[in-house]
Subunit: 183 residues, 2 copies
DNA sequence: ACCTGAACACCGTTCAAGT
DNA sequence: ACCTGAACACCGTTCAAGT
C-alpha cells in the first residue's frame, strides 16, 4: 500500500469515528470524506460499503471487551452483582455509537455479515460469563447464550433509541438477571 | 373535507399499508403516492410527516390490542402460560411491519411523539396483564410496566431485524417471564 | 379547497481524467 | 496505484400553477 493511501485510510477511520459519534452510524459519508480532506471516491476505494467502515471503527473498541469481562468479574459481591456489572458493561459497549447496538446484534445470527466476526467477540465474552455462573451453580437450566445476547442487544437498542440513562437501563437488566439466575 | 380529498386519504392509507408491509416503514413515499395515483404533494398535504402516515396505519391494528389481551388471558394453564401467550401476542403486534417495533417502543417514553397516543395502548394493555398477575400474587415486587414494555419492545426489535421465527423468540420471552414472576 | 407535477436539495455511488 | 471531482440516480420536500 502506498504511503499516501495508508495515511488516507487511517485518517478516514479517525474522522469517521468522530462523525459517527456526533451524528450516528447513518451519518452522511460525504461529511466523512470532506472532513478527511479526500474525494468521495477515495472513501469508496478504501471502504466499499458503509458496513466496512463500521467494521474498521469497531475494531478499536472490540479490543476492550476481554478487559471489561475481567473488570466486571472482579466486582465486589456475589454472582448476581458480577453478572449485573457485566450486563451494564455489555450495554455500554454496544451503545458507544448511535445505531450500533441494533446493527451488531442483528448480525449475531447470520453468517455472511461483515460485522459477524466482530460481534462474535461480544457473544464469546458473554458466554464466558455465563459459563462462570454455571460453574458456581447459579445459572438456570436451559439458558442459551444467543438468547441472552439478543435480550441484552434489545435493551441496548431501546436505550439507544430512547437515550436512556444508566439508571433507567438497570431495572431491565435486573429482570434479565432474575430470569437467567436460579431463584 | 371534500369528497375527493376523503377518497385520496383513504386510498393513501390503504396503499401505504401494502407498501410498508412489502418494503418496511422506511419505504420511499414516492412509491406510495405513485401507486395511489396522486402527486407527491397530495401525500404531504394529508400526512405532513412520515410518522403521521405510520400513525394512521397503526390505528387499524391498535383496535385489536384489547381483544388480544382477552384471548391471551383465556389461555389454558396457569399464570405463566397466560403471561407468555400475551408476550407472544405483544411481539406479534409490534412486528406487523418491518421497523415498527423499534419506532413504537422508542416513542413510549417521550411525550411529544405523534406515535405516543397509539403506543400508550400497548403499554396500557401490558399493564392490565401485569395487574392481573399481581392480583394472583405471582408478580415480583418492584417490576415496572415501562421496563417490561421496553424489554418486549427490544425482543420484538431483535426479532424484526433478524427475521426470527416465533420458536426463536419464545426462549427470550421465557427469560423475561422468569424475571417478572415470583420464583 | 384541493390537486398536480416541475423544481430543488441532499446524499449515495460511479467513473473518466488526472498524478 | 491512487486520487479527484464531476456526473448521475434516487428520494424527500416545496410551491406555483391549475381545477
Amino acid at each position: 500500500m502506498r504511503a499516501d493511501a495508508q495515511r488516507n485510510r487511517e485518517r478516514l477511520i479517525e474522522v469517521a469515528h468522530e462523525v459517527f459519534k456526533e451524528r450516528g452510524l447513518d451519518a452522511p459519508l460525504d461529511e466523512v470524506a470532506r472532513r478527511a480532506g479526500v474525494g468521495p471516491g477515495t472513501l469508496y476505494r478504501h471502504f466499499p460499503t458503509r458496513e466496512a467502515l463500521h467494521e474498521a471503527i469497531m475494531a478499536t473498541w472490540i479490543e476492550e471487551v476481554a478487559g471489561q469481562v475481567e473488570k466486571a468479574m472482579a466486582t465486589e459481591g456475589g454472582c448476581r452483582e458480577k453478572l449485573l456489572a457485566w450486563f451494564e458493561e455489555y450495554v455500554a459497549l454496544l451503545t458507544r455509537h448511535q445505531g450500533a447496538a441494533a446493527k451488531i446484534t442483528a448480525s449475531l445470527g447470520c453468517q455472511d455479515s461483515p460485522l459477524r466476526t466482530k460481534c462474535q467477540t461480544y457473544a464469546d465474552a458473554n458466554e464466558s460469563v455465563l459459563a462462570e455462573m454455571a460453574d458456581n451453580g447459579v445459572l438456570r437450566e436451559g439458558v442459551d447464550n444467543l438468547d441472552v445476547c439478543r435480550l441484552l442487544g434489545g435493551v441496548a437498542t431501546m436505550a439507544d433509541h430512547s437515550s436512556l440513562a444508566p439508571e433507567d437501563v438497570r431495572p431491565m437488566l435486573d429482570v434479565i438477571a432474575n430470569g437467567v439466575l436460579k431463584a
